[in-house]
Amino acid sequence: MMRTYAGHSNAKRSNELYRRNLAKGQTGLSVAFDLPTQTGYDPDHELARGEVGKVGVSIAHRGDMTALLDGIPLDRMNTSMTINATAAWLLALYIVAAEEHQVPEDKLQGTTQNDILKEYLSRGTYAFPPGPSMRLIADTIAYTVQRIPKWNPINICSYHLQEAGATPVQEIAYAMSNAIAVLDAVRERVDQALMPSVFARISFFVNAGVRFIEEHAKLRAMAQLWDQLGRERYGVEGEKHRRFRYGVQVNSLGLTEAQPENNVYRIALEALAVTLGRDARARAIQLPAWNEALGLPRPWDQQWSLRLQQVLAYETDLLEYPDIFEGSKVMDGLVGELVAGAREEMARVAELGGAVDAVDYMKASLVESHRERWRKIEAGELTVVGMNRFTESEPSPLTAGADGGILVVDPEVEAEQKAAVRSWRAERGQAAVDEALTVLAQVARDPGENIMPATIAAARAGVTTGEWAQTLRAAFGEYRAPTGVGEAPAVSSREVAELRDEVERVSEALGRRVKFLVGKPGLDGHSNGAEQIAVRARDAGMDVVYEGIRLTPNQIATSAAQEGVHVVGLSILSGSHRELIPAVLEALRDAGARDVPVVVGGIIPESDAAALRELGVAAVYTPKDWDLNAMMRDIVGLVAERAAVGA
């Protein structure tokens, strides 16, 4: 199956995009939701500011879902939804929208990502604490296994673990441990006779990096472990039920902003990792666009990715042979090593009480692996062509266009969606909504009940995404995931030692240690970059205040003022920097910290960077500024300059 991950702005515009993609030969839908929808906030919530319609489509209620799917044959369509914390809700909206199109739920096919652990570990769009989140997952699995037999209720994601720095062994081990936690939770909620069907409905979403031989071995290792897990832990008899099914999005971590055209080759090689051997071939592939490190891909960029899959499938002889690694000593040896390593790491997680209880441990391990990878890049031990080697380049015609080679979402969308959700609330039958929410709250407080029927009733009644999530937040409580940075051991190198001397000198002149606040405003949960910055600043000798993700501008400004920091660093990867950075600057002024310099990092096009500097931002960093030591030197220099303690 071939598809591209797509969706932006509102339901109507995304629907047009889907119809165009289907006309070009795409065979399924992959829906991208915006961050407010993913984290359970309506477009008019304070935290949604700057994020509405940015990284995906805004779906606030049943009306939006119906418009999104208008004219698409849902009885035949296979729809993958990248939705996690609010998966039960979006699935309910999908079911209700299908009803309106006269398609019964048992005919629906598709996937809800619905994997919460990797949200705590990497992606950051969680809404509820781990216990209740696992219950929501178990509820959707129990519901779909019985009512929507062709639905994949969960996609266990190892993809984001690799993005967070996981080694192949960690990726395998944490994904399998995660699957065990989910299956154990479901086992308590369904008839034991259903367990083989449950096991068979679990699919994976993996990552493939550019080391494509090892990556292929990784997939074979996962298939082996999965088969064994089904047989031994869950007593699944049928071989078909134990088959390792996975979809894949190839690596975005390795895509570079420098010489972005090279990413096309990387993507092609990564696609081979998941297709080469038939015994471990992906069922669905999504390829990223070449310019993901620059900003949002345009429709043409996505078409280019789709064409790569079509060349692989229809021009090459890839699909004509049985498994080409059968009997390969090299491949079997690699697989054996990975399986052994993964078993060891799985045992460690089990010792800690399983994947839910081991979140802190896994997060800290990932931060550590990511830092090691970055250290190798900086030291030149790991080559990234065009970035730390072979960096000379002719001017690129690809990024020379007026739009800089990326898609810019119309800023009007947010205002439109805000107005739309307000008029939706005003026009619906409020009594039915109130009643549906009362029932939902009761069901949420009773762990013995399945959340799905009350959720579907709420969707029908016209409840909004924010109302559904707020009802559950009230019942389950709020949650902040671990940052993983606290325990990271210090590293040293000549450059870091030099930095430390400079930090020491400036601290001495200031009278107290240079203090640096690293903040992530808004709903963007991609914290890997911010974590690496925080750890490196610590290694360079600074006192670092890092509070994790999802902070309002007001929270950041209050922390900066109360903590008496000398400099503030903000990281935003969702494209909402144009709204959020000015808001933080304003909040800093209000908090009496107007003189504290602010630096910004993220996927920020040059035209936006210039505008931010104009507003008073001291420096803007993008993925091409991969040398963290250089960034630290800048930041210490900035503190010295502002305090007039220059060298």
């Binding site: 870091v496 750890v535 360079a540 000798g541 109360q562 009496g592």
Partner: protein, 322 residues
């Protein structure tokens, strides 16, 4: 950002007037190790000393300590909300457990205390531990006594067991040790006399009903065996719906009401001066005073109206001559 050192007396005067906005500047000053700043810190502490105020500083200084991971920050979120509900202003000095590595540190504690950022009557500052894991940095002692002149409650939060409560007892009016049910170490430490008996013992995770109740009973039995019947033992739950928080606030207050505050604060100032002296002159300075116990006895004989800087000055004179 200016690099000049603010005037300690002015900051002290603003604290005396109850100006809470000055808290960040106070912390920036007391954390500043330059000689000029240390001098101004002395002036600040003198300006808010009982001799100047005409009484002990108003705040209830509460020490909250316990092993890592027992839920101190969640508990603190609830306690701060409780105090705010009663109209009290609150300053939290969170001593981060992460030891210094490579000179730098990662301060993550404030993230775990949930408050309303627009509430000007709540101040939170993360501070780095002193030389020992969980030990108090000199700045924390100075900050606690200074902020006590303006805030209704000043919390010093530290991590550890066996020593942290001893150190925090030098600063705080009331010390609460937080433990989780099933953790036997605190019970063992209590029985073995390794840890000082706290003023209040808090058992978290009361939502685990029976286990929490058993932990409370075990601790009460151990305290009875030690004859420490004055220590309140309470079970609290910080997860929704929270329980036991109002009772805890009441227990802390009851302890403070029964306290000879002047005596406890006087001892705190003397210990503060001694710690500052040790930071400045080290073990060698301490030996010149005839050792720690001797120095403490000598301090106990000094004029009770002396402020911290004056006491430290006298210690220095005694050790090294005028």
């Amino acid at each position: 950002m200016t690099h000049s050192v603010p005037d300690g007396r002015t900051l002290g005067a603003r604290l005396k007037q109850g100006d809470l906005d000055v808290a960040p500047a106070v912390l920036n000053l007391v954390e500043n190790r330059s000689p000029a700043a240390q001098e101004q810190t002395g002036a600040l502490l003198a300006a808010v000393s009982p001799a100047q105020l005409g009484r002990e500083a108003r705040a209830h200084i509460v020490g909250i300590t316990g092993p890592p991971g027992v839920g101190k920050s969640s508990l603190l979120s609830r306690l701060v909300a409780e105090w705010r509900g009663r109209g009290r202003s609150v300053a939290v000095l969170a001593v981060d457990p992460s030891s210094r590595r490579s000179g730098g540190s990662l301060l993550g504690d404030r993230a775990r205390i949930e408050t309303d950022p627009s509430d000007g009557a709540v101040f939170i500052r993360s501070t780095v531990a002193g030389t020992r894991l969980g030990g108090l940095a000199p700045a924390t002692r100075a900050a606690a006594s200074a902020l006590a002149a303006a805030f209704d409650v000043v919390v010093v939060e530290t991590v550890g067991v066996g020593q942290s409560e001893t150190e925090v007892a030098d600063v705080a009016d009331t010390v609460a040790v937080v433990v989780q049910p099933g953790a036997g170490d605190v019970l063992q430490f209590l029985k073995a006399g390794i840890m000082e008996i706290p003023d209040v013992l808090v058992v978290t995770k009361a939502d685990l009903h029976d286990i929490a109740r058993r932990a409370v009973a075990d601790l009460q039995a151990a305290l009875r065996a030690l004859g420490a019947t004055a220590t309140a033992v309470l079970a609290v739950s910080s997860v929704a719906p929270p329980t036991g928080i109002a009772e805890l606030a009441a227990a802390l207050e009851a302890h403070r009401a029964g306290l000879d505050l002047r005596r406890r604060r006087l001892r705190a100032r003397r210990m503060h001066a001694l710690e500052d002296f040790v930071t400045e002159y080290g073990e060698r300075g301490l030996r010149a005073l005839g050792g720690r116990r001797h120095a403490e006895r000598w301090l106990a004989e000094q004029d009770p109206d002396l402020d911290v800087a004056a006491l430290e000055h006298r210690l220095a004179e005694r050790a090294h001559g005028p």
